[in-house]
């Protein structure tokens, strides 16, 4: 027995890396970033000293929108696409287990998406350097690592959904739902839970668990990670006034000032990394369980 998930991953990488769709989305992301960076650079008066890290924070802000898109688009067809085309029956006529298929797909797509994101990051970093100057290495590496981790989280979601779906339509509906859930609805849901339990909307001073609940979303987790890397608050791409924080100063809105006393361990940065890793693995594992028992007729 020598065939394993590695063989599936190798095949999947060779196949998916040739997908024009993935590179198209990365191209759009890079062009969009380039445009924004140039516009933003021109918007500052020439006598204002702009820190180079600002450029990276911009990249991180837009990454919240684009990384999930790139990953979900590249991953949602990974398993169900082979089921619909019938190639899954060719693949599974060789001595692979269904675990090999899902694990191989997860790894293969993660490498494809990681490569695409790396290319996108390097190009945007180049643009940012032109406009803002050279940022410090620590922040640059932090951005790269957090974007890749973020990409992995949505790769896991996409592969998991793909493995659990019997038709392309269902997989597509599910990934669109997931994207909107984390982009728009997670914060209202967290605030809603807070309201139900406390009878008030989350204000400036909030119980610590509320932040943990928020940060269970991969987009929130990535944003919190980016915040701590750049030591500034990068904005949410979708601003919904669900928290009762109107008129608060940015300083009041810093995490340390919103939670009474010491920050609990579960609001440490490593928890954000764990959350993103968990999104990369758990949905794929659940999708595998569905796929394992599915008829592939």
């Amino acid at each position: 027995m020598t065939t394993t998930w590695r063989d599936v991953a190798r095949k999947d990488f060779a196949d998916a890396v040739r997908s024009k769709m993935v590179w198209g989305v990365v191209g759009v992301f890079v062009s969009f970033m380039g445009l924004l960076l140039l516009v933003a650079g021109a918007a500052f008066p020439s006598d204002v000293e702009v820190e180079a890290e600002m450029g990276l924070a911009f990249v991180a802000e837009l990454a919240q929108l684009f990384v999930p898109l790139v990953a979900l688009i590249a991953a949602y067809m990974s398993v169900v696409g082979e089921r619909r085309s019938g190639s899954i029956r060719v693949l599974l006529s060789y001595p692979f287990t269904r675990f090999d298929v899902v694990a191989g797909k997860l790894v293969g797509r993660a490498v494809v998406i990681g490569s695409a994101l790396l290319v996108g990051l390097v190009v945007t970093l180049g643009l940012a350097v032109v406009v803002y100057g050279v940022p410090e290495a620590g922040a640059t590496l932090g951005l790269f690592a957090s974007v890749l981790l973020f990409g992995l989280a949505f790769t896991g979601l996409g592969v998991g959904i793909s493995a659990a779906s019997a038709t392309r339509g269902k997989a597509m509906a599910a990934v669109i739902g997931i994207y909107l859930l984390f982009l728009m609805f997670w914060e209202p849901i967290a605030a809603g839970v807070y309201y139900v339990l406390n009878g008030t909307r989350p204000g400036i001073q909030v119980e610590a668990w509320y932040f943990l609940l928020k940060r269970l979303s991969p987009i929130e987790a990535f944003r919190a990670l980016a915040d701590s890397i750049f030591e500034i608050s990068i904005g949410s791409p979708v601003l919904l006034p669900v928290e009762d924080t109107a008129g608060a100063t940015p300083e009041q809105l810093e995490l340390a000032n919103r939670v009474a006393g010491e920050l609990p361990f579960y609001l440490s940065e490593w928890v954000l990394v764990v959350v993103l890793l968990a999104w990369g693995v758990v949905p794929a594992a659940l999708g595998y369980l569905r796929f394992r028992d599915a008829d592939l007729g």
Partner: protein, 247 residues
């Protein structure tokens, strides 16, 4: 030794569709076994159960002495498969497909020799499969099934998409494989094609009257096609009337 053995194999999809009903089937080592039935008779579902793509509702199946579900990998290590209505990886070349197949079977076949055997032009082999006609894909699929000199070949509607010349080549390939001792199990809805490959065959509707899985058994080494035809006619469905879609 029985290479394929099913007992009471049954598959329902949902409440209403009974795809395979109580199928008892035995294929002996070295046989070329034609599995004949009209469209929708459950041939592909049966094959899919042998390969663990689909799980039976009831009954049991063994291939090469292994339980088809529990030891599915062992079955597939020694079996070459041409699935029905299969897809390939459109962005990859034909040659790449064969290289992967060689890799996955832990074999050392030469992709060029395989291309030659299934009648694919080496120039075509370097084009992505998206450019292939149905017949070329069928040839490539057959080449992938032959990798690793399997003990059992399972071919689901192998002639679909092939022109008469391709069908003739397919028939020769099946004979070559059979002469090397490979057991061949193939399905078709066209009696003539079963006859063309099998030397002797027997058809029986398995299971209930509601669903007919017509089965062709063909044993090699008797090469009289005329006799085949006679027998084929004689063992039509009850009432002496050929099954719909067979002829």
């Amino acid at each position: 030794m029985a290479i394929i053995e099913t007992t009471g194999l049954t598959k329902r999809f949902g409440e209403s569709v009974l795809a395979v009903d109580d199928l008892d089937l035995t294929v002996e080592e070295g046989e070329v076994f034609g599995f004949l039935g009209s469209n929708g008779a459950g041939k592909s579902t049966t094959i899919n159960m042998l390969l663990d793509f689909v799980r039976p509702t009831d009954g049991h199946a063994e291939v090469l002495g292994y339980d088809v579900h529990r030891d599915s990998e062992a079955v597939r290590e020694r079996t070459g498969v041409l699935p029905e209505g299969f897809g390939l990886y459109e962005r990859l070349t034909g040659r790449r497909h064969l290289e992967f197949a060689v890799d996955w079977k832990d074999a050392d076949d030469d992709p060029d020799a395989l291309l030659d055997r299934v009648g694919l032009d080496p120039d075509d082999a370097d084009r992505p499969v998206a450019d292939y006609s149905k017949g070329m894909q069928q040839r490539l699929g057959l080449g992938m099934a032959l990798v690793g000199d399997p003990d059992l070949l399972i071919l689901d509607e192998p002639s679909s998409g092939l022109d008469p010349h391709g069908i003739r080549q397919m028939r020769e390939l099946v004979r070559e494989e059979a002469d090397r001792g490979t057991t061949v199990f193939f399905s078709s809805h066209i009696l003539g094609q079963v006859e063309a490959v099998c030397d002797r065959h027997r058809r029986r509707p398995a299971g209930s009257r509601r669903r007919k899985v017509a089965v062709e058994v063909a044993r090699r080494r008797t090469a009289d096609r005329r006799r085949v035809r006679r027998r084929g006619r004689r063992v039509g469905l009850p009432g002496g009337r050929p099954a719909p879609g067979l002829l």
